[in-house]
C-alpha cells in the first residue's frame, strides 16, 4: 500500500459531509471505520465475496440518504436499499457490496454514498475451476454451492464425479483438497499439492460410503473454497404389514383386539401408524365410541423393532378397539414405510340390546330404568307385559308404546352412538303390590327383541 493511502486510512472515522460516517467489516471480523480506500479481499473467478458496509447518521438531526451506487467491473450492490431513505440521528443503514470477478486480475470500483466517493478494491487470483457432473452436463461450482446426492436407496452406491480444471493462461496449484463429514470419502484420493497447467483437468469422485439409513452432511474443501455435501441414505423397505384381528368382531359393543404382523422380520427399526375410520350405515352420523382404548383416539403410533415381525403399541403388541353401538363399517389402515394396508369390519344392523332392567316401586306405581343400545337408531315401539303374583298376564295384552319420536329426538341430538338409557314411570291404579313381573319387547328396523321376565 502506498504511503498516501496509508495516511488517509488512518483518518478515522471517515466522514461524509460531516453528517455521515461509513464503516465496514471488509478484511476484518469486527466493524471498523472505512477509509477512502477499502480493500474487500480476493476471490476466484466465478465466486463472489460480499462485504458489509454501514452508513451512519452521526449528526443530531435526521438526514436523507439519496444516493448509493457503485461503478466498476466486478462490483455490484447486493440487494440495495430503496432510496431516498431518511436515517434518524444516530441511526445506521447496512448495505452489501458484492465482488464477483469473472476472470483473474485486479478490480476496483467507486462507491458513491451521497456526495462522497470511496474506492473499493479487490483481486482475483488464478485458481482451478471446480465442476460437478450432472447427468451428461458439467456444472460449475462457486464457493458455498452444495453438492447433493439426493435420496439414495439402501442398497445403492452413491458417487458424484467432479472435475478440477485450469481455465487460466497460467499454471495453478491446489494445495488443499479434502472431504470431511461422516460417511463421505474421496476416490481416488488426489495427491496434493498438485499443479494444473493451462487447459489441464483432474477428475475425482466423492462417494457416500455410509450404508446406515440417515441424513449425512459433509464438506468438500478446495484450497480456501468449500462446498457443502448432502446425502440421505434410505432404509431398506419394510415388509408389508398385515392387520390380524383377535376374533370375529361383527357385533356392536365389543372391545376387540388386533395385532400388526409383518410378512418378514423388519430390516431395521421402524415406525408406523394405525388409523381407524368409521362409516355409519344409519342416519345420525358418527359414533364417538369407535376408538382405540385406552387412548380414546382413532390413530395409534406403532414401532417395529429391527429383526421382529410384530408391531409394538407402546409396551404391548395388541391394540384394543371398540366397535361402538352404531351399525356401519370400521376401516383399519396400517401405514409402514411405503405400505398402506387396510382391513374392514362390518357391524350389521341389529335388534335392540338391553342390560338387565331395574324396576323400583314408587309411591304411585313403578319406575323402570334400563340401559342398552340400538345400533340402527330406529327404535319405534316398546311393549311391556306385566304379570301378577300368580304369574298371570295382567290385562288383555302388553302396553304398546310408540317411542319413535322420543328416540328420534334423542338420537338426532348428539347421542353417543346408539347408546341409550330409558327411564319411565308406570302409574298403577289398584294394588301395585300384585304386580311382580314384566317382560319388555323392543322393536327397531332389524326386528324385535324381548327380555326375559324380570321379577321385582
Amino acid at each position: 500500500m502506498k504511503p498516501l493511502v496509508l495516511l488517509l486510512a488512518l483518518l478515522a472515522p471517515f466522514s461524509l459531509a460531516a453528517q455521515w460516517q461509513l464503516t465496514t467489516t471488509a478484511g476484518a471480523i469486527a466493524e471498523r471505520p472505512a477509509g477512502p480506500l477499502v480493500e474487500v479481499g480476493n476471490t476466484v473467478a466465478g465466486d463472489r465475496l460480499d462485504t458489509d458496509f454501514f452508513v451512519i447518521n452521526a449528526g443530531s438531526t435526521p438526514a436523507a440518504l439519496t444516493r448509493l451506487s457503485i461503478s466498476g467491473a466486478g462490483f455490484t450492490l447486493h440487494q440495495p436499499p430503496s432510496l431516498p431513505q431518511t436515517i434518524p440521528a444516530g441511526g445506521r443503514l447496512r448495505f452489501q457490496v458484492r465482488f464477483a470477478p469473472t476472470a483473474p486480475g485486479s478490480y476496483s470500483a467507486s462507491l458513491q454514498v451521497n456526495d462522497l466517493a470511496v474506492l473499493v478494491r479487490g483481486s482475483s487470483p488464478a485458481a482451478a475451476a471446480v465442476e460437478v457432473r450432472d447427468g451428461t452436463e458439467l456444472r460449475s461450482l462457486s464457493a458455498g454451492t452444495g453438492i447433493g446426492f439426493g435420496r439414495i436407496s439402501w442398497d445403492a452406491s452413491a458417487t458424484r464425479a467432479l472435475r478440477l480444471s485450469n481455465p487460466n493462461a497460467v499454471a495453478v496449484s491446489v494445495t488443499a483438497l479434502r472431504v470431511t463429514g461422516e460417511g463421505f470419502g474421496l476416490t481416488p484420493l488426489p495427491v496434493v499439492p498438485l499443479t494444473l497447467m493451462p487447459g489441464e483437468a483432474l477428475w475425482f469422485e466423492i462417494a457416500l460410503r455410509a450404508t446406515a439409513p440417515g441424513s449425512y452432511r459433509g464438506e468438500l474443501t478446495v484450497d480456501q473454497r468449500s462446498f457443502p455435501l448432502d446425502a440421505t441414505r434410505l432404509p431398506p423397505p419394510f415388509p408389508e404389514p398385515e392387520i390380524i384381528f383377535g376374533g370375529n368382531y361383527l357385533d356392536s359393543a365389543i372391545q376387540g383386539r388386533l395385532t400388526i404382523r409383518l410378512a418378514a422380520p423388519a430390516p431395521t427399526d421402524g415406525a408406523g401408524s394405525l388409523s381407524l375410520e368409521f362409516l355409519p350405515a344409519v342416519r345420525g352420523g358418527d359414533d364417538p365410541a369407535v376408538i382405540f382404548t385406552p387412548s380414546g383416539l382413532r390413530t395409534l403410533a406403532f414401532t417395529v423393532p429391527g429383526g421382529h415381525t410384530n408391531a409394538q403399541f407402546g409396551s404391548t403388541s395388541e391394540a384394543i378397539f371398540q366397535t361402538g353401538t352404531t351399525a356401519g363399517t370400521l376401516i383399519f389402515t396400517a401405514r409402514l414405510g411405503d405400505h398402506t394396508r387396510s382391513q374392514t369390519i362390518t357391524v350389521s344392523p341389529a335388534k335392540v340390546a338391553v342390560n338387565t332392567p331395574h324396576i323400583y316401586r314408587s309411591a304411585t306405581g313403578l319406575e323402570l330404568r334400563l340401559s342398552g343400545y340400538d345400533n340402527t337408531r330406529s327404535c319405534s315401539e316398546i311393549r311391556f307385559q306385566f304379570y301378577d303374583r300368580q304369574g298371570r298376564v295382567l290385562g288383555t295384552g302388553p302396553i304398546r308404546t310408540d317411542v319413535r319420536a322420543l328416540f328420534r329426538s334423542y338420537f338426532d341430538n348428539g347421542s353417543p352412538g346408539g347408546l341409550f338409557r330409558l327411564q319411565a314411570s308406570f302409574p298403577v291404579a289398584g294394588n301395585a303390590a300384585e304386580i311382580t313381573g314384566v317382560e319388555i319387547e323392543f322393536l327397531n328396523l332389524a326386528g324385535s327383541t324381548q327380555t326375559q321376565r324380570i321379577s321385582f
Partner: protein, 256 residues
Amino acid sequence: MKKALTCTLLSTCVLFGADALVTAPQAGMVRQADRLIPVYGVRGNLIAGQALREGVLAVAASGRWTLVKTENAVSAWDDRGLLAGEHEAGPGPALFGFAQDGATAVAHLPESRETLRWDGTVWTEVPWTGTPDVRVVAAGVGASGETLLGLQRDERTWVVGMAASGARLSEDLLPGNSKLLSILPGGARLRTADRQLVLETSRGVEAAIDLPADVESLSPMGEGWFHLVTAGSNAGLALHLEGKVMGIYYLPEAGP
C-alpha cells in the same frame, strides 16, 4: 305420548307414564389424573366424558351418590350434580364403600386415620382408631348397615365389622395370598389372587376372572361398575359385576 293401559279383572291398572326420558347411559364416575370424569356406556362400549372437576384425590359413585375426596374435604354429590354434604377432612386420598341401596356410604381417610359415614344427609365420624401398625385397605357397608373396614397387618388381612359406636361386631380373616381391593355393598369382597380378581362372599369364592394388568386399587364407579386402577395407565379398567358375572373392559382416557 299416547298412554296405553293394561288391567286385570281385579282392576289393577298400569299406565305408561308421560314422563319417559331417554338419555345417555352413565356407567359411573372415575378419577383420571386428578380429574373427576364421567363415563358413559354399556359393557364393551365405554366413553369418557369431559372432566367435571379437578384437584380430586379419590372418587366413588353408586349411581345415586358421587363421593369425592379433595385435599381438605370429603363431599357427596347427588345424581343431578348438586352438592349434598361436605365434611372437612385431612389430606390424602380416601377409601369409599357403599351400602346395598347405594344410599349410605362409608369413607376412610388413611392419612388422617378418620372414618366417616354418609347417611344421605350428613357425614358423621365413626369413633375408631386402629393401632399404628394396622393399615386400612378397604371400606364398606355390611348387609346390616354396619361399617366394614379391611385391615392389614404383617401381610394378613381382616375384614372387621363395627357398630356406629365403633364397637367391633365381627372379624373375618382373609386367605394369606390375597390382596383385598374392595368391600362390596352388603359385605362381599373383591380381592386379587394369582393374577385373578376373585369375588368372595361369606359362602366362599363365588367367581374369578383373569386380570389383564396389575391392579393397584379398586373403587365403586357406578351401579354395577368398579374402576380398577392399574399400573402404568391413566385410564385403568372397568369391572362390570352383575350377580356373580364379572366382565373387565378397557376404559378410554378423557380428552384434555
